[in-house]
Symmetry: none
């Protein structure tokens, strides 16, 4: 299973008309599209994370004729979640149709930046190649990343060495991170048949590799 992360610009043909429409709104910024689900009845269910004034967003969405149903939830300040249920009319040739026609999975979240949007498509090499060739000419596409799709390996843990991960996982399972701790370094060292200070070193390095990335 391969993946391709594509950067699309400009977004005059966005993945869907309402998305294109949102780009034209001065005071709304698309942050991410968290979900993009399709219903049998030819409708889309979108969950956006947007920033902008709630009223501007409300207006933008209700103005759009394809919107069947929507809901807007403010989070903090200008952060807004917009749940939008859409008629899927007039989407021929748009990215979402292209991907789905070729049996590709669109990996949410889709992120947006000043230049356009970044979408990860998942599927086998043949399908990915075909969809790339089918991209309409008006749409500038550049491939940002490509490789084996491997979401199973937790991103944060991939930077650890095998040994670090082994020690870390053993510690977690043994209850070292419970409150209060259920085991000591020595107990873990016993399980792993090594010195307590070895356990410590691996755990310290594992924590230092992982924890700062949580923020």
């Amino acid at each position: 299973m391969k993946y391709l992360t594509l950067s699309l610009k400009p977004t005059d043909r966005a993945f869907h008309p309402i998305d294109q429409y949102l780009t034209t709104q001065e005071h709304i910024t698309r942050e991410t599209l968290l979900h993009l689900d399709i219903r049998f009845n030819e409708t889309y269910l979108l969950l956006y994370h947007l920033t902008g004034s709630r009223s501007a967003i409300e207006t933008a969405i209700t103005t759009n004729e394809n919107v069947l149903n929507h809901e807007i939830v403010s989070v903090d300040g200008n952060d807004v979640y917009a749940y939008v249920h859409l008629d899927a009319a007039n989407t021929e040739g748009h990215l979402v149709e292209l991907a789905y026609d070729h049996g590709l999975i669109i990996d949410t979240p889709i992120t947006f930046d000043a230049d356009g949007m970044n979408v990860t498509l998942v599927g086998n090499t043949t399908r990915l190649g075909t969809v790339l060739q089918s991209v309409p000419e008006e749409l500038t596409v550049s491939v940002q990343h490509a490789g084996r799709y491997d979401p199973g390996t937790n991103d944060l843990l991939t930077s650890l060495t095998d040994r670090q991960r082994e020690v870390f996982e053993t510690a977690v399972e043994a209850g070292y991170y419970d409150v209060p701790r259920r085991v000591t370094h020595q107990d873990i060292a016993g399980k792993l048949d090594c010195a307590p200070s070895t356990v410590d070193e691996h755990l310290r390095k594992a924590e230092s590799a992982v924890v700062p990335h949580l923020f």
Copy 2:
């Protein structure tokens, strides 16, 4: 926007017939369902992460009459990704239909464990309530987590209290998680104007809330 994480057991009514079928296979373990996409033509596109022998998985999937197309990719050892394109026939009353009929978003990945499956549904309170009431009697459902859906804020940190997060973040920024540590509890306590043991307590609780979820 609210979310509910449900634990479903037993899985005799799984989210889809092929999912139910996989549970009956001795030598296949469902790890997660990474994607669950629907096509207009009443088909599903699933991307599973499974463990088991590749041949057993191949057999299980090809044997199923609803499978239109599939692809299996080995990763390491027994880890396998299975891309399955399915006819959506016979799914009345199954979870995926229930959720979608009520305009709820199913938040992948869906995880599986010995007891059943864990699914997070996203939508407003009314919709979530309605779908809970519509759950068939044969299906045991327990609500594991509920709250405001807020994927923008890192999931792992949402379970912390404000104070825990504040202390945790201060510690990270001060270099407490560097190797070697650049500050002690006391230094952090100085910045936060509290006792060192208070810092410790918050950090311990924060770690215990976060670290086990990395695996």
